[in-house]
């Protein structure tokens, strides 16, 4: 038991942070959305590929270096701190899926050749996931309709029902195959993409999962932990920007931070972030050491989501009106958090699921 972050991880985190840039990010948020739902070219994804980030948590035989989920949660956390969206998270999930399914796409993903977006993972029971059917040797027909965040991705990774509703597959479709039936009304929102009859290669199916157990361990369980780390990072970033503002901004002849009402709420946020951070690190450690982590992955995602949500709101309140504007771009966190809090399941559903497991768990 040693709960302190080790120096190698710390250094890795610093390397990642040093390469991330947020220039231009907030202005984009304040512009009208593009007619074509396609985000700007992503400098940060290039930066992460430059340091071979996708290899960190990938199997040796696919060109990875097997630093484990601990390493990729670290990258996720740093992305969160910067408040940037990144294909990295969906790429890491696609790599896990491709490794689990021994898919031929694996090497390309590890090489960082495919920028991925994730969509359709929002239901804990996957009740709204699209369905896919085999079309002879041609590949898969995918049917369904999904909320998607516009991005500069090459491909979109989604869960699909296979063979009726027996299995759940993770499938990688070309981003351009999405048919947009609704565009985001404003930046920071999602559009609706239709997949009616989208046809894709047989190799697009990365893996098959048993729907009952498949979401809390395996690739999706790991994605939950990574997402939790990302949310912890978002909360951290929001708090950091808020503390800086509260230190600088004066009202009634005192810095905001000197008012106990502000100071205590920021202090509470720090405590909550620390708690979620440790829980995330533990969940990654459980996965990396081959222990069961279904309860841990579920709980940490729900907890991190709540912490991020609360910290994001607090940041906007302490930041005041300027936090809605480019004068103090706390909105970067506030808007991103909205998308990320529910991306892999609603917190209340996750809590219920976790609670059900806890009823029979010896560890409580």
């Amino acid at each position: 038991m040693n709960v302190d972050i080790d120096p190698v991880q710390q250094r890795l985190g610093q390397v990642v942070s040093a390469r991330l840039s947020t220039a231009g990010l907030d202005e984009a948020v304040l512009r009208a959305p593009d007619a074509v739902p396609r985000g700007p070219a992503d400098r940060n994804w290039t930066a992460l590929r430059d340091i071979d980030a996708p290899t960190f948590d990938a199997p040796l035989e696919a060109g990875g270096v097997e630093l484990g989920l601990s390493a990729s949660t670290l990258i996720a956390e740093r992305l969160g701190r910067a408040g940037v969206a990144s294909p990295y998270l969906a790429v890491a999930l696609a790599i896990d899926a491709a490794a689990a399914g021994e898919a031929e796409m694996l090497a390309s993903l590890v090489a960082g050749n495919i920028a991925v977006a994730a969509a359709g993972f929002e239901s804990v029971t996957f009740e709204s996931a699209p369905s896919a059917a085999v079309a002879d040797r041609l590949g898969w027909y995918v049917e369904g309709s999904l909320p998607v965040e516009p991005s500069a991705a090459d491909a979109v990774l989604l869960p699909v029902w296979l063979d009726g509703r027996d299995d759940l597959g993770l499938i990688l479709l070309g981003y351009d195959t999405l048919k947009w039936t609704a565009l985001p009304a404003a930046p920071g929102g999602t559009g609706t993409a239709k997949l009616s009859g989208a046809l894709c290669e047989p190799s697009a199916l990365l893996c098959r999962l048993a729907p009952e157990t498949g979401c809390a361990e395996g690739p999706l369980g790991r994605a939950r932990v990574r997402q939790a780390a990302y949310l912890v990072g978002l909360a951290h970033g929001a708090l950091a920007a808020t503390v800086e503002h509260a230190e600088r901004r004066r009202q009634f002849d005192r810095p905001l931070r000197d008012f106990s009402s502000v100071r205590f709420r920021l202090g509470q946020a720090h405590a909550e972030i620390e708690a979620a951070r440790l829980l995330t690190a533990r969940a990654a450690w459980l996965a990396d050491s081959g222990r069961p982590f279904a309860v841990a992955s579920t709980e940490v995602l729900a907890l991190a989501a709540e912490v991020a949500r609360d910290t994001g709101r607090l940041a906007m309140q302490v930041g005041g009106a300027r936090s809605l504007t480019a004068l103090l771009p706390l909105h970067r966190f506030y808007l991103r958090i909205r998308l990320e809090v529910t991306r892999f399941g609603r917190p209340d559903q996750l809590w219920t699921t976790a609670g059900r497991r806890r009823m029979t768990d010896e560890e409580t």
């Binding site: 009202q251 005041g320 504007t325 808007l335």
Partner: protein
Amino acid sequence: MEFGFTADQTRFRTRVRCRFADDRVRDALRRVRAQGVREPDTRPLYRVLGDLGLLAVGWPAEYGGGGRDPIETAIAIEELVRAGIPDTMHVNTIQIVGLFLLLAGTEEQKRAHLPAMARGEKFASVLYTEPESGSDLGSLRTTATPDGDGWRLHGEKVFSLKSDVTDLGLCAARTGPGTYDGISLFLVDLHADGVRVEPIASIADEDFHRIRLDGVRVGAGDLLGETGGGWPLLTRALAVERTGLDYTLKAERWLRAVRDGMPDPDDLFLAGLGRNAARLEASRLLSWRVLTGGPDVDEVAAAVAKLYSSELAQEVAGWAAEVYGFGYGRAWLDNERVDLLEAAYREAPGLTLSAGTSEVMLQIIGSVGLDAYLPAGKSDGGKR
């Protein structure tokens, strides 16, 4: 206590509702929406509403109003929002600046501005906040220096809504030293020389504005109250802003959209719905208490209503972003609801900041408001 409406009031509500359903209103509203931008120009719509007598329902007839009592006035406002009319211009022009002019303006000022506002031909903004003065309005730096029988204004006001299309600003400026004693209130023509309005882009659908005042001339007749006597007026004007009705109505609209869009509610959703609906009901009562409390608004009751309603609306907007899951369940929820709720989330942070932050409300409640709990004569709370 009486929580119902009289038959007359109910009839009045029906009549108003029908008027908002008038073809001219529907057409004008359609044209507003057809502009296809995040922040459409609502002035043509307001001119139609003005023609129909739907704007200044509670002002005396002599100033272009409908002469209705506070309850009917509130009914008309509820129906305005329920009819889907974007209400920012109404809140700022009619409910805040106009009402305040009615309470504190001179006869000349009333005649000069109120009838045009009531017709939907003149619009107003509130100009208090400055880059370095938010909650701490006593530190404002905009100056009004004597110039003949009038003044010249110099300074910068920020975070004002709609000021690119409004005509009149209610502006707080410093006419002397001191913190609160040196402040005066002016009516500023926003089309005058020296006024420069720039947008400050916001994540909300409505952008903010920066108003630079560079030697803007205001006449003797544009002063409200006494020179240097602006602070008590400002306090009163702020209380007028804080009925909470606008926030309550936002919360109502959003909550209804969430509920009506949910096909298969589970227990956790139902518990949340019950809770938010109850709080909405309470919020409405808190607002009605302020609205029907007479012209001298109870500062604490107003702070409670503003706090409660804005926090609730924010809460509902946040709840809406979670209950359907990622992307507001837009795979099956209709686009109109998605867009409404999605915009609510971007508007929400501003609700607990505008018209006095939640912290300012809590400061008022926590000082003056809590004195009511003390045995008589045990506190100096009012002074702190």
